[in-house]
Amino acid sequence: MPNPSTRPGSQSKKGSGPNAAKNGGSKSTGPRGTGAKKGAKKTAATTRFAERQARKEEEARLARQERNKRYAFVTIGLVIAVVAVLLIVKFAGGGSSTSSTADQPSPPGGTPIPAATLAKLSSVPLSTLRSAPTTGILTTPQSASGKALTTDGKPQLLYIGAEYCPHCAAERWAMYVALTKFGTFDPEPGRIHSATQDGNIPTLTYYRTKYSSPYLAFNPVEVYTNYLNSSGNNYVALETPTEAELNLWQSGNGGSFPYVNFAGKAILPSAQYSFADLQGLTFDQVAAQVGNNATTAGADIDASANQLIKTICTTMTHDQPADVCS
């Protein structure tokens, strides 16, 4: 029986099936039918090829999609891992941050100050400090007759201030210059400023610093930060003085900032010079003027540091070290 597919014009439909080539009807076809059969075979092969290609492409597309999906998940997972590591290091390995900010080992407050700047502040020659004009000095340390203030057998220099306080901002410069004649800070103070609404005076903070000296102990208490609480009616508390410190402070200057107690033998009831002399200057500008008595800020800081050194030598260290106190 002749195969219907041998009829001219029918090859494109019926001859394209997968069994068309095996069909016995093809033997009875003429030259034209043979050409049609070949065409049908070619078309079938092309179609099969196209289908295979399409399948391959689809498989490749799905594989690519799966691979990219894995990449996406891995990327997101890595980000989560990085965040998790940061949190773990912070809260488990690197010291916790709790509501009580006292007695916590941590980096110093404020912005780190370049080592070169700190080196400059700590190496102002004593001769420069001693020759500083005292025209800007408003207050000097006063002798006191309280109980000796010590820490681990060393005379203690108690400083009570607040980061928002512009007077403290002024005094801290002189304190750093003076204290680094007797010891070292590690961690060093960070750079801050008094409250923006309270002079915005550039300064350093003793919050979370550690001072080491063979001659004296330094006990800084920064009671408030330089920013307001959420209700805007007070500065956010930072460190709390002990009962004994509070009593000394209250009896010393009525509880105003700054307050410095030299081992119970002298007190500084307020900043030695006016913070107005630093107003409008940047931190770097003030730092640059320290040791330069030709500038108002430099002279004020140098003269104040000199007063502090003299007081520390006479009331706390028995004129030691000799090269500083002589």
Binding site: I76, T111, N226, Y227, S230, V236
Partner: protein, 153 residues
């Protein structure tokens, strides 16, 4: 046939970017008004003011909050459904790159909050979470789904 490009990335991205824009706008406003009315808890670890008034709240004199505002403004445009339907690689990978920029920034700021400022700002954390969600959806959708074919709305 490739899957039809889904709508959810655009939806999630647009909503998160709009929310981020709002929070960043609020933080920018607070930055320029001395943060005096910033509504945030203050219990030591959680302390928005400490963060938003820190020296890290500005980069080269530009408030970080303002940079966040800029980030979300651009991202909001990139996340709009008509833009998601655009097949151009520039748009697809530009959006992905912008999301990566946002992610790197929030990782840096998180590091600063934890290790330099020592305080966490809840508003900033909100921004960080939104940025992270936008990054996740953008990364997943860009890498997983082929570019939409054809017309641009």
């Amino acid at each position: 046939m490739p899957d039809e490009f889904p709508r959810w990335p655009a939806l999630v991205g647009t909503v998160c970017s709009a929310l981020g824009l709002g929070v960043a706008g609020y933080l920018t406003f607070e930055h320029y008004t001395s943060s005096s009315s910033l509504a945030c808890a203050d219990n030591g670890t959680i302390n928005c003011l400490k963060v938003t008034t820190s020296s890290y709240s500005e980069v080269l004199g530009v408030p970080v909050a303002l940079l966040g505002l800029l980030f979300f403004a651009v991202m909001l445009v990139l996340q709009l459904p008509p833009v998601w339907r655009r097949p151009e690689p520039t748009v697809r990978y530009g959006r992905l790159a912008w999301a990566v920029v946002g992610l790197c920034t929030i990782l840096y700021l998180l590091y600063r909050e934890l290790f330099s400022i020592d305080a966490i700002c809840l508003w900033c954390t909100g921004v960080h979470v939104l940025t992270f969600i936008v990054f996740c959806t953008t990364t997943y959708a860009t890498l997983t789904y082929p570019p939409p074919e054809g017309a641009v709305a």
